[in-house]
Amino acid sequence: MAKATNTELVDLLGEKFGEQLFDVSEPYGLLTFSTTKDKVIEVLSFLKENGKINFNFLTDITAVHYPEKERIAVVYHLHSMVSGIRVRLKVFLHENDPRVASATVLWNGANWMERETYDFFGVKFEGHPDLRRILNMDELNVHPMLKQYPLEDPNRVDKKDEYFGR
Protein backbone atom coordinates (compact mmCIF):
# COMPACT_ATOMS: atom_id res chain seq x y z
CA MET A 1 0.00 0.00 0.00
CA ALA A 2 1.23 3.44 -0.82
CA LYS A 3 2.15 5.69 2.04
CA ALA A 4 -0.97 7.60 3.03
CA THR A 5 -0.46 11.30 3.59
CA ASN A 6 -1.71 13.49 6.38
CA THR A 7 -3.91 15.49 3.98
CA GLU A 8 -5.70 12.33 2.85
CA LEU A 9 -6.17 11.41 6.46
CA VAL A 10 -7.56 14.82 7.36
CA ASP A 11 -10.02 14.60 4.45
CA LEU A 12 -11.15 11.14 5.44
CA LEU A 13 -11.60 12.04 9.10
CA GLY A 14 -13.28 15.33 8.25
CA GLU A 15 -15.77 13.49 6.09
CA LYS A 16 -16.61 11.08 8.88
CA PHE A 17 -16.47 13.24 12.01
CA GLY A 18 -16.67 16.83 10.78
CA GLU A 19 -16.76 19.29 13.64
CA GLN A 20 -16.14 16.67 16.29
CA LEU A 21 -12.44 16.75 15.49
CA PHE A 22 -10.76 20.09 16.10
CA ASP A 23 -7.39 21.71 16.81
CA VAL A 24 -5.84 19.96 13.83
CA SER A 25 -2.14 20.65 13.54
CA GLU A 26 0.97 18.96 12.25
CA PRO A 27 3.93 19.54 14.57
CA TYR A 28 7.04 17.94 13.03
CA GLY A 29 4.91 16.07 10.51
CA LEU A 30 2.86 14.21 13.11
CA LEU A 31 -0.85 14.79 12.59
CA THR A 32 -2.42 15.91 15.85
CA PHE A 33 -6.06 16.54 16.64
CA SER A 34 -8.45 16.66 19.56
CA THR A 35 -11.88 15.27 20.17
CA THR A 36 -14.47 15.33 22.91
CA LYS A 37 -14.48 12.72 25.61
CA ASP A 38 -17.68 10.96 24.57
CA LYS A 39 -16.40 10.52 21.00
CA VAL A 40 -12.97 9.15 21.82
CA ILE A 41 -13.71 5.43 21.48
CA GLU A 42 -15.63 6.03 18.28
CA VAL A 43 -12.71 7.95 16.77
CA LEU A 44 -10.15 5.40 17.97
CA SER A 45 -12.09 2.46 16.61
CA PHE A 46 -12.61 4.24 13.28
CA LEU A 47 -8.88 4.86 13.07
CA LYS A 48 -8.19 1.27 13.99
CA GLU A 49 -10.69 -0.51 11.82
CA ASN A 50 -10.92 1.60 8.68
CA GLY A 51 -9.19 -0.45 6.01
CA LYS A 52 -7.87 2.60 4.21
CA ILE A 53 -5.81 4.00 7.06
CA ASN A 54 -5.50 1.06 9.43
CA PHE A 55 -4.03 2.49 12.61
CA ASN A 56 -3.79 -0.97 14.09
CA PHE A 57 -1.08 -0.25 16.63
CA LEU A 58 -1.45 1.64 19.89
CA THR A 59 1.96 3.14 20.58
CA ASP A 60 1.25 4.91 23.80
CA ILE A 61 -1.26 6.49 26.15
CA THR A 62 -0.22 9.23 28.51
CA ALA A 63 -1.51 12.50 29.93
CA VAL A 64 -0.48 16.11 30.41
CA HIS A 65 -1.73 18.45 33.11
CA TYR A 66 -2.46 22.11 32.28
CA PRO A 67 -3.33 23.74 35.60
CA GLU A 68 -4.00 27.26 34.16
CA LYS A 69 -6.65 25.81 31.86
CA GLU A 70 -7.83 23.41 34.59
CA ARG A 71 -7.51 20.59 32.10
CA ILE A 72 -5.84 17.23 31.86
CA ALA A 73 -5.16 16.10 28.31
CA VAL A 74 -5.08 12.36 27.66
CA VAL A 75 -2.81 11.77 24.68
CA TYR A 76 -3.03 8.71 22.42
CA HIS A 77 -0.28 7.91 19.94
CA LEU A 78 -1.37 5.53 17.19
CA HIS A 79 0.72 4.02 14.46
CA SER A 80 -0.32 2.52 11.18
CA MET A 81 2.21 -0.17 10.43
CA VAL A 82 0.63 -0.70 7.03
CA SER A 83 1.05 2.85 5.74
CA GLY A 84 3.85 3.82 8.09
CA ILE A 85 2.39 7.00 9.61
CA ARG A 86 1.61 8.07 13.11
CA VAL A 87 -1.23 10.10 14.53
CA ARG A 88 -1.79 11.80 17.87
CA LEU A 89 -5.21 12.17 19.44
CA LYS A 90 -5.91 14.34 22.46
CA VAL A 91 -8.87 14.52 24.78
CA PHE A 92 -9.10 17.41 27.20
CA LEU A 93 -10.80 16.57 30.49
CA HIS A 94 -11.64 18.83 33.38
CA GLU A 95 -9.13 18.35 36.19
CA ASN A 96 -11.80 18.04 38.88
CA ASP A 97 -13.40 15.00 37.32
CA PRO A 98 -11.16 13.42 34.71
CA ARG A 99 -13.15 10.54 33.27
CA VAL A 100 -12.88 8.98 29.85
CA ALA A 101 -13.84 5.64 28.35
CA SER A 102 -11.19 2.97 28.41
CA ALA A 103 -9.43 1.88 25.22
CA THR A 104 -8.98 -1.65 26.56
CA VAL A 105 -11.98 -2.67 24.43
CA LEU A 106 -9.81 -2.04 21.36
CA TRP A 107 -6.31 -2.96 22.48
CA ASN A 108 -5.20 -5.25 25.30
CA GLY A 109 -2.04 -3.19 25.57
CA ALA A 110 -4.03 -0.18 26.73
CA ASN A 111 -4.45 -1.86 30.12
CA TRP A 112 -1.16 -0.93 31.75
CA MET A 113 -0.79 2.34 29.86
CA GLU A 114 -4.11 3.46 31.35
CA ARG A 115 -3.17 2.16 34.77
CA GLU A 116 0.00 4.24 34.59
CA THR A 117 -1.98 7.30 33.51
CA TYR A 118 -4.45 6.75 36.35
CA ASP A 119 -1.63 6.30 38.82
CA PHE A 120 0.14 9.52 37.90
CA PHE A 121 -2.72 11.80 36.85
CA GLY A 122 -5.83 10.33 38.42
CA VAL A 123 -7.62 9.94 35.11
CA LYS A 124 -10.41 7.41 35.60
CA PHE A 125 -10.82 5.14 32.60
CA GLU A 126 -14.39 3.91 32.58
CA GLY A 127 -14.78 0.26 31.70
CA HIS A 128 -11.20 -0.58 32.56
CA PRO A 129 -11.04 -4.13 33.94
CA ASP A 130 -8.48 -3.47 36.66
CA LEU A 131 -7.87 0.20 37.37
CA ARG A 132 -5.31 0.08 40.18
CA ARG A 133 -2.09 1.96 40.79
CA ILE A 134 0.81 0.38 39.01
CA LEU A 135 4.16 1.98 39.84
CA ASN A 136 3.37 3.83 43.06
CA MET A 137 2.35 2.17 46.29
CA ASP A 138 -1.35 1.55 46.80
CA GLU A 139 -1.44 3.70 49.95
CA LEU A 140 -0.41 6.87 48.14
CA ASN A 141 -3.26 9.36 48.24
CA VAL A 142 -2.10 11.78 45.54
CA HIS A 143 -1.48 11.54 41.82
CA PRO A 144 2.11 12.74 41.73
CA MET A 145 2.49 13.96 38.15
CA LEU A 146 -0.11 16.70 38.63
CA LYS A 147 1.61 20.07 38.53
CA GLN A 148 0.55 21.18 42.00
CA TYR A 149 2.89 18.66 43.60
CA PRO A 150 6.47 19.93 43.79
CA LEU A 151 9.43 17.70 43.07
CA GLU A 152 11.37 18.47 46.21
CA ASP A 153 10.17 18.42 49.78
CA PRO A 154 8.66 21.94 50.16
CA ASN A 155 9.97 22.22 53.70
CA ARG A 156 13.57 22.20 52.59
CA VAL A 157 15.11 25.64 52.44
CA ASP A 158 18.36 24.76 50.69
CA LYS A 159 16.80 23.36 47.53
CA LYS A 160 14.43 25.71 45.77
CA ASP A 161 13.01 24.79 42.40
CA GLU A 162 13.92 28.15 40.86
CA TYR A 163 17.61 27.45 41.41
CA PHE A 164 17.37 24.15 39.56
CA GLY A 165 15.12 24.88 36.64
CA ARG A 166 11.43 25.56 36.69
Binding site: D60, V64, H77, G84, R86, N108, F120, D130, G165, R166
Partner: protein, 404 residues
Amino acid sequence: MNNNQPVYTDNDPQDGLVTLNLGPTHPATHGVFQNVLQMDGERIVSGVSTIGYIHRAFEKIAEHRPFYQITPLTDRLNYCSSPINNMGWHMTVEKLLNIQIPKRVDYLRVIIMELSRIADHIICNTIIAQDTGATTTFLYLFQYREHIYEIFEEICGARLTTNIGRIGGLERDFNEVAFAKINKFLKEFPAALKEFESLLNRNRIFIDRTKGVAEVTAENALSYSWTGPLLRATGIDYDVRVSEPYSSYQDFDFEIPVGTSGDVFDRYLVRNEEMWQSVRIIEQAMEKLKSEPKGIFHADVPDFYLPGKEEVYNNMEALIYHFKIVMGEIDAPKAEVYHAVEGGNGELGFYLINDGGRSPYRLHFRRPSFINYQMYAKMSEGMLLSDAIINMSSLNIIAGELDA
Protein backbone atom coordinates in the same frame (compact mmCIF):
# COMPACT_ATOMS: atom_id res chain seq x y z
CA MET B 1 -12.27 -2.76 41.37
CA ASN B 2 -9.60 -4.48 43.40
CA ASN B 3 -10.39 -8.02 42.31
CA ASN B 4 -6.93 -8.44 40.81
CA GLN B 5 -5.08 -7.54 43.97
CA PRO B 6 -2.40 -10.16 44.52
CA VAL B 7 -3.11 -12.76 47.18
CA TYR B 8 -0.03 -13.15 49.31
CA THR B 9 -1.23 -15.96 51.56
CA ASP B 10 -2.96 -19.23 51.00
CA ASN B 11 -6.42 -18.17 52.03
CA ASP B 12 -8.28 -21.30 51.00
CA PRO B 13 -6.50 -24.48 52.09
CA GLN B 14 -9.18 -26.63 50.44
CA ASP B 15 -8.68 -25.49 46.85
CA GLY B 16 -5.49 -27.46 46.32
CA LEU B 17 -3.59 -24.42 45.12
CA VAL B 18 -0.35 -23.13 46.53
CA THR B 19 0.52 -19.43 46.50
CA LEU B 20 4.04 -18.83 45.30
CA ASN B 21 5.82 -15.50 45.46
CA LEU B 22 8.20 -15.42 42.51
CA GLY B 23 10.28 -12.41 43.38
CA PRO B 24 10.75 -9.49 44.15
CA THR B 25 14.30 -10.77 44.59
CA HIS B 26 14.70 -14.12 42.98
CA PRO B 27 17.88 -15.20 41.18
CA ALA B 28 15.98 -16.38 38.11
CA THR B 29 14.18 -13.11 37.49
CA HIS B 30 17.37 -11.05 36.98
CA GLY B 31 15.84 -7.97 38.46
CA VAL B 32 13.22 -6.74 40.87
CA PHE B 33 10.03 -8.35 39.61
CA GLN B 34 7.30 -9.84 41.69
CA ASN B 35 4.77 -12.29 40.40
CA VAL B 36 2.31 -13.80 42.81
CA LEU B 37 1.38 -17.13 41.31
CA GLN B 38 -1.35 -19.60 42.16
CA MET B 39 0.21 -23.00 41.57
CA ASP B 40 -1.39 -26.36 40.96
CA GLY B 41 1.62 -28.56 41.42
CA GLU B 42 4.18 -27.34 38.90
CA ARG B 43 1.59 -25.64 36.77
CA ILE B 44 0.64 -21.98 37.06
CA VAL B 45 -3.10 -21.42 37.36
CA SER B 46 -3.06 -17.67 37.54
CA GLY B 47 -0.66 -14.89 38.30
CA VAL B 48 -0.54 -11.21 39.15
CA SER B 49 2.47 -9.04 38.33
CA THR B 50 3.42 -6.35 40.79
CA ILE B 51 5.86 -3.78 39.46
CA GLY B 52 7.28 -0.46 40.57
CA TYR B 53 9.93 -1.63 43.01
CA ILE B 54 12.57 0.64 41.50
CA HIS B 55 10.31 3.45 40.35
CA ARG B 56 12.34 6.68 40.50
CA ALA B 57 9.84 9.23 39.09
CA PHE B 58 12.00 10.11 36.08
CA GLU B 59 9.15 11.87 34.33
CA LYS B 60 8.59 14.14 37.33
CA ILE B 61 12.31 14.82 37.73
CA ALA B 62 12.60 15.56 34.00
CA GLU B 63 10.03 18.36 34.36
CA HIS B 64 12.49 20.17 36.63
CA ARG B 65 15.75 19.62 34.78
CA PRO B 66 17.30 21.29 31.75
CA PHE B 67 17.91 19.09 28.70
CA TYR B 68 21.45 18.01 29.55
CA GLN B 69 20.50 16.88 33.02
CA ILE B 70 17.91 14.53 31.55
CA THR B 71 20.51 12.50 29.67
CA PRO B 72 21.75 10.74 32.83
CA LEU B 73 18.14 9.83 33.62
CA THR B 74 17.80 8.07 30.28
CA ASP B 75 20.96 6.09 31.08
CA ARG B 76 19.03 4.41 33.81
CA LEU B 77 16.08 3.28 31.73
CA ASN B 78 17.46 0.32 29.85
CA TYR B 79 20.86 0.23 31.49
CA CYS B 80 22.01 -2.66 29.31
CA SER B 81 22.08 -0.37 26.28
CA SER B 82 22.31 3.15 27.69
CA PRO B 83 23.89 4.75 24.58
CA ILE B 84 20.73 4.07 22.58
CA ASN B 85 18.67 5.87 25.20
CA ASN B 86 21.11 8.80 25.41
CA MET B 87 21.14 9.26 21.68
CA GLY B 88 17.40 8.80 21.38
CA TRP B 89 17.00 11.66 23.84
CA HIS B 90 19.54 13.87 22.09
CA MET B 91 17.90 13.17 18.75
CA THR B 92 14.53 14.15 20.22
CA VAL B 93 15.92 17.52 21.25
CA GLU B 94 17.63 17.90 17.86
CA LYS B 95 14.30 17.20 16.19
CA LEU B 96 12.70 19.87 18.37
CA LEU B 97 15.41 22.38 17.41
CA ASN B 98 15.60 21.31 13.75
CA ILE B 99 19.33 20.68 13.93
CA GLN B 100 20.96 19.12 10.86
CA ILE B 101 23.52 16.54 11.87
CA PRO B 102 26.60 15.91 9.70
CA LYS B 103 26.77 12.45 8.14
CA ARG B 104 29.98 11.55 9.92
CA VAL B 105 28.32 12.14 13.30
CA ASP B 106 25.39 9.98 12.24
CA TYR B 107 27.73 7.15 11.33
CA LEU B 108 29.68 7.44 14.57
CA ARG B 109 26.38 7.31 16.43
CA VAL B 110 25.24 4.30 14.45
CA ILE B 111 28.43 2.46 15.43
CA ILE B 112 27.82 3.16 19.11
CA MET B 113 24.14 2.26 18.94
CA GLU B 114 24.74 -1.00 17.13
CA LEU B 115 27.49 -1.95 19.57
CA SER B 116 25.07 -1.39 22.43
CA ARG B 117 22.41 -3.41 20.64
CA ILE B 118 24.87 -6.29 20.43
CA ALA B 119 25.67 -5.88 24.14
CA ASP B 120 21.95 -5.90 24.95
CA HIS B 121 21.27 -9.01 22.89
CA ILE B 122 24.33 -10.79 24.27
CA ILE B 123 22.91 -10.36 27.75
CA CYS B 124 19.48 -11.61 26.79
CA ASN B 125 20.55 -14.62 24.74
CA THR B 126 23.27 -15.83 27.06
CA ILE B 127 20.86 -15.50 29.97
CA ILE B 128 18.27 -17.64 28.20
CA ALA B 129 20.95 -20.29 27.79
CA GLN B 130 22.06 -19.84 31.38
CA ASP B 131 18.51 -20.31 32.63
CA THR B 132 18.15 -23.51 30.66
CA GLY B 133 21.29 -24.74 32.41
CA ALA B 134 23.94 -24.04 29.76
CA THR B 135 26.59 -22.07 31.62
CA THR B 136 29.29 -22.62 28.99
CA THR B 137 27.69 -20.43 26.34
CA PHE B 138 27.17 -17.66 28.86
CA LEU B 139 30.85 -17.62 29.74
CA TYR B 140 31.99 -17.82 26.12
CA LEU B 141 30.04 -14.91 24.75
CA PHE B 142 29.78 -12.65 27.75
CA GLN B 143 33.39 -11.48 27.49
CA TYR B 144 32.44 -9.66 24.28
CA ARG B 145 30.11 -7.46 26.26
CA GLU B 146 33.18 -6.51 28.24
CA HIS B 147 35.00 -5.66 25.00
CA ILE B 148 32.10 -3.44 23.95
CA TYR B 149 32.22 -1.64 27.30
CA GLU B 150 35.93 -1.09 26.78
CA ILE B 151 35.11 0.62 23.49
CA PHE B 152 32.55 2.85 25.25
CA GLU B 153 35.14 3.59 27.90
CA GLU B 154 37.51 4.77 25.20
CA ILE B 155 34.81 6.96 23.62
CA CYS B 156 33.20 8.58 26.63
CA GLY B 157 35.01 7.38 29.74
CA ALA B 158 32.09 5.45 31.20
CA ARG B 159 31.00 1.87 30.78
CA LEU B 160 27.48 1.10 31.92
CA THR B 161 25.62 4.36 32.44
CA THR B 162 27.43 6.14 29.69
CA ASN B 163 25.88 9.62 29.41
CA ILE B 164 27.37 9.54 25.94
CA GLY B 165 27.17 12.35 23.40
CA ARG B 166 25.82 15.87 23.32
CA ILE B 167 22.93 17.67 21.69
CA GLY B 168 24.29 18.03 18.16
CA GLY B 169 26.81 15.22 18.20
CA LEU B 170 29.42 13.65 20.39
CA GLU B 171 31.52 15.09 23.16
CA ARG B 172 34.77 14.12 21.42
CA ASP B 173 35.94 12.27 18.35
CA PHE B 174 36.78 8.57 18.46
CA ASN B 175 40.48 8.24 19.09
CA GLU B 176 42.82 5.78 17.37
CA VAL B 177 42.54 3.32 20.22
CA ALA B 178 38.75 3.30 19.92
CA PHE B 179 38.91 2.59 16.19
CA ALA B 180 41.49 -0.12 16.80
CA LYS B 181 39.28 -1.70 19.44
CA ILE B 182 36.22 -1.60 17.17
CA ASN B 183 38.21 -3.24 14.37
CA LYS B 184 39.47 -5.89 16.74
CA PHE B 185 35.91 -6.51 17.93
CA LEU B 186 34.64 -6.81 14.35
CA LYS B 187 37.35 -9.34 13.63
CA GLU B 188 36.88 -11.52 16.70
CA PHE B 189 33.19 -11.32 17.52
CA PRO B 190 31.79 -13.18 14.47
CA ALA B 191 33.83 -16.27 15.30
CA ALA B 192 32.58 -16.21 18.89
CA LEU B 193 28.97 -15.68 17.84
CA LYS B 194 29.30 -18.56 15.39
CA GLU B 195 30.61 -20.75 18.17
CA PHE B 196 27.77 -19.62 20.43
CA GLU B 197 25.23 -20.50 17.75
CA SER B 198 26.77 -23.87 17.03
CA LEU B 199 26.53 -24.70 20.72
CA LEU B 200 22.83 -23.88 20.94
CA ASN B 201 20.99 -23.64 17.63
CA ARG B 202 20.79 -27.39 17.05
CA ASN B 203 21.20 -28.43 20.65
CA ARG B 204 18.50 -30.99 21.48
CA ILE B 205 18.21 -30.02 25.12
CA PHE B 206 18.02 -26.30 24.36
CA ILE B 207 15.42 -26.83 21.65
CA ASP B 208 13.31 -29.02 23.92
CA ARG B 209 13.34 -26.36 26.59
CA THR B 210 12.54 -23.42 24.30
CA LYS B 211 10.64 -24.51 21.19
CA GLY B 212 6.89 -24.14 21.54
CA VAL B 213 7.23 -22.41 24.90
CA ALA B 214 5.19 -19.22 25.27
CA GLU B 215 4.03 -19.02 21.68
CA VAL B 216 2.44 -15.70 20.77
CA THR B 217 0.43 -14.97 17.66
CA ALA B 218 1.07 -11.83 15.64
CA GLU B 219 -2.47 -10.54 16.37
CA ASN B 220 -1.98 -10.93 20.08
CA ALA B 221 1.44 -9.29 20.00
CA LEU B 222 0.04 -6.30 18.11
CA SER B 223 -2.90 -6.01 20.45
CA TYR B 224 -0.49 -5.89 23.41
CA SER B 225 1.60 -3.24 21.61
CA TRP B 226 4.70 -5.41 21.54
CA THR B 227 7.66 -4.07 19.62
CA GLY B 228 11.24 -5.05 19.00
CA PRO B 229 12.63 -8.57 18.76
CA LEU B 230 9.55 -9.95 20.52
CA LEU B 231 7.19 -8.62 17.84
CA ARG B 232 9.54 -9.65 15.06
CA ALA B 233 9.66 -13.18 16.44
CA THR B 234 5.92 -13.41 15.79
CA GLY B 235 6.50 -12.60 12.12
CA ILE B 236 5.92 -8.86 11.84
CA ASP B 237 8.82 -7.00 10.26
CA TYR B 238 8.46 -3.77 12.19
CA ASP B 239 11.70 -2.01 12.99
CA VAL B 240 11.92 1.74 13.67
CA ARG B 241 15.33 1.85 11.98
CA VAL B 242 13.62 0.94 8.71
CA SER B 243 10.11 2.37 9.01
CA GLU B 244 11.26 5.82 10.20
CA PRO B 245 15.01 5.95 9.67
CA TYR B 246 16.88 8.21 12.09
CA SER B 247 20.59 8.92 12.26
CA SER B 248 21.02 7.98 8.55
CA TYR B 249 20.00 4.33 8.93
CA GLN B 250 18.61 4.59 5.41
CA ASP B 251 22.22 4.59 4.12
CA PHE B 252 22.81 1.08 5.40
CA ASP B 253 22.08 -2.26 3.90
CA PHE B 254 20.68 -4.69 6.46
CA GLU B 255 17.82 -7.10 6.95
CA ILE B 256 15.10 -7.39 9.57
CA PRO B 257 15.03 -10.96 10.79
CA VAL B 258 11.57 -12.34 11.61
CA GLY B 259 10.35 -15.50 13.27
CA THR B 260 7.15 -17.46 12.79
CA SER B 261 5.67 -18.71 16.05
CA GLY B 262 6.86 -16.09 18.54
CA ASP B 263 8.08 -18.72 20.98
CA VAL B 264 11.22 -18.48 23.09
CA PHE B 265 13.32 -20.23 20.47
CA ASP B 266 12.24 -17.81 17.76
CA ARG B 267 13.02 -14.83 19.97
CA TYR B 268 16.46 -16.29 20.56
CA LEU B 269 17.02 -16.78 16.82
CA VAL B 270 15.79 -13.29 15.97
CA ARG B 271 18.14 -11.71 18.50
CA ASN B 272 21.07 -13.77 17.23
CA GLU B 273 20.40 -12.75 13.67
CA GLU B 274 20.10 -9.12 14.74
CA MET B 275 23.59 -9.34 16.20
CA TRP B 276 24.84 -10.48 12.79
CA GLN B 277 23.03 -7.60 11.14
CA SER B 278 24.47 -5.16 13.66
CA VAL B 279 27.97 -6.39 12.83
CA ARG B 280 27.15 -5.80 9.18
CA ILE B 281 25.97 -2.26 9.91
CA ILE B 282 29.08 -1.44 11.93
CA GLU B 283 31.31 -2.74 9.13
CA GLN B 284 29.48 -0.57 6.61
CA ALA B 285 29.70 2.44 8.92
CA MET B 286 33.44 1.96 9.35
CA GLU B 287 33.74 1.82 5.59
CA LYS B 288 31.61 4.96 5.10
CA LEU B 289 33.64 6.89 7.66
CA LYS B 290 36.70 6.60 5.43
CA SER B 291 35.11 8.84 2.79
CA GLU B 292 33.82 11.43 5.28
CA PRO B 293 35.93 14.48 6.19
CA LYS B 294 37.95 13.72 9.30
CA GLY B 295 37.55 15.45 12.60
CA ILE B 296 33.86 16.36 12.47
CA PHE B 297 32.12 15.01 15.52
CA HIS B 298 29.34 17.50 16.18
CA ALA B 299 27.01 19.87 14.38
CA ASP B 300 27.63 23.58 14.55
CA VAL B 301 25.09 24.56 17.22
CA PRO B 302 26.91 26.73 19.79
CA ASP B 303 23.59 27.45 21.50
CA PHE B 304 23.16 23.85 22.58
CA TYR B 305 26.44 22.04 22.10
CA LEU B 306 28.51 22.31 25.29
CA PRO B 307 31.93 23.82 24.54
CA GLY B 308 35.02 21.79 25.37
CA LYS B 309 36.44 22.04 28.88
CA GLU B 310 39.73 23.41 27.56
CA GLU B 311 37.89 26.39 26.13
CA VAL B 312 35.58 26.86 29.10
CA TYR B 313 38.54 27.32 31.42
CA ASN B 314 40.44 29.68 29.13
CA ASN B 315 37.89 31.61 27.12
CA MET B 316 35.25 33.97 28.45
CA GLU B 317 32.74 33.39 25.62
CA ALA B 318 32.90 29.64 26.06
CA LEU B 319 32.39 30.00 29.79
CA ILE B 320 29.30 32.12 29.24
CA TYR B 321 27.86 29.60 26.78
CA HIS B 322 28.67 26.75 29.10
CA PHE B 323 26.82 28.48 31.92
CA LYS B 324 23.85 29.39 29.77
CA ILE B 325 23.49 25.89 28.37
CA VAL B 326 23.83 24.18 31.74
CA MET B 327 21.25 26.48 33.32
CA GLY B 328 18.88 26.04 30.38
CA GLU B 329 18.85 29.78 29.64
CA ILE B 330 18.59 29.42 25.87
CA ASP B 331 15.15 29.44 24.28
CA ALA B 332 13.88 26.35 22.55
CA PRO B 333 10.75 26.35 20.35
CA LYS B 334 7.40 25.90 22.07
CA ALA B 335 6.32 22.66 20.49
CA GLU B 336 5.60 19.01 21.05
CA VAL B 337 7.60 16.26 19.46
CA TYR B 338 7.56 12.48 19.46
CA HIS B 339 10.71 10.69 18.48
CA ALA B 340 11.24 6.95 18.51
CA VAL B 341 14.38 4.88 18.27
CA GLU B 342 14.79 1.12 18.07
CA GLY B 343 16.10 0.20 21.49
CA GLY B 344 17.32 -3.22 22.50
CA ASN B 345 13.80 -4.23 23.47
CA GLY B 346 11.71 -2.34 20.99
CA GLU B 347 10.41 1.08 20.20
CA LEU B 348 11.77 3.54 22.73
CA GLY B 349 9.75 6.72 22.34
CA PHE B 350 10.26 10.20 23.77
CA TYR B 351 7.22 12.45 23.91
CA LEU B 352 8.46 15.92 24.72
CA ILE B 353 6.33 19.01 25.24
CA ASN B 354 8.35 22.18 25.50
CA ASP B 355 6.77 25.41 26.70
CA GLY B 356 9.83 27.61 26.40
CA GLY B 357 10.90 27.12 30.01
CA ARG B 358 14.23 25.83 31.21
CA SER B 359 13.05 22.28 31.36
CA PRO B 360 10.43 20.27 29.46
CA TYR B 361 6.80 20.96 30.34
CA ARG B 362 6.21 17.25 30.06
CA LEU B 363 8.42 14.39 29.05
CA HIS B 364 7.05 10.90 28.66
CA PHE B 365 9.11 7.83 27.92
CA ARG B 366 7.45 5.09 25.90
CA ARG B 367 9.31 2.24 27.51
CA PRO B 368 9.21 -1.04 25.60
CA SER B 369 9.92 -3.21 28.65
CA PHE B 370 6.92 -1.76 30.49
CA ILE B 371 4.59 -2.40 27.61
CA ASN B 372 6.03 -5.80 26.66
CA TYR B 373 5.81 -7.10 30.21
CA GLN B 374 2.10 -6.71 30.69
CA MET B 375 1.31 -9.90 28.83
CA TYR B 376 3.56 -11.94 31.12
CA ALA B 377 1.07 -12.95 33.82
CA LYS B 378 -1.57 -13.78 31.23
CA MET B 379 0.89 -15.80 29.16
CA SER B 380 2.02 -17.78 32.18
CA GLU B 381 -1.42 -19.24 32.85
CA GLY B 382 -1.30 -22.97 32.28
CA MET B 383 2.47 -22.91 31.90
CA LEU B 384 4.99 -24.92 33.88
CA LEU B 385 6.96 -22.81 36.33
CA SER B 386 10.25 -23.73 34.67
CA ASP B 387 8.88 -22.55 31.30
CA ALA B 388 7.67 -19.30 32.82
CA ILE B 389 11.23 -18.63 34.01
CA ILE B 390 12.63 -19.15 30.50
CA ASN B 391 9.84 -17.00 29.13
CA MET B 392 10.81 -14.17 31.43
CA SER B 393 14.47 -14.37 30.38
CA SER B 394 13.49 -14.24 26.73
CA LEU B 395 11.28 -11.17 27.21
CA ASN B 396 14.46 -9.39 28.34
CA ILE B 397 12.62 -7.15 30.77
CA ILE B 398 15.02 -4.61 32.25
CA ALA B 399 13.83 -3.37 35.63
CA GLY B 400 15.06 0.19 35.05
CA GLU B 401 13.04 0.51 31.89
CA LEU B 402 10.03 -1.25 33.36
CA ASP B 403 9.68 1.11 36.31
CA ALA B 404 11.24 4.34 35.04
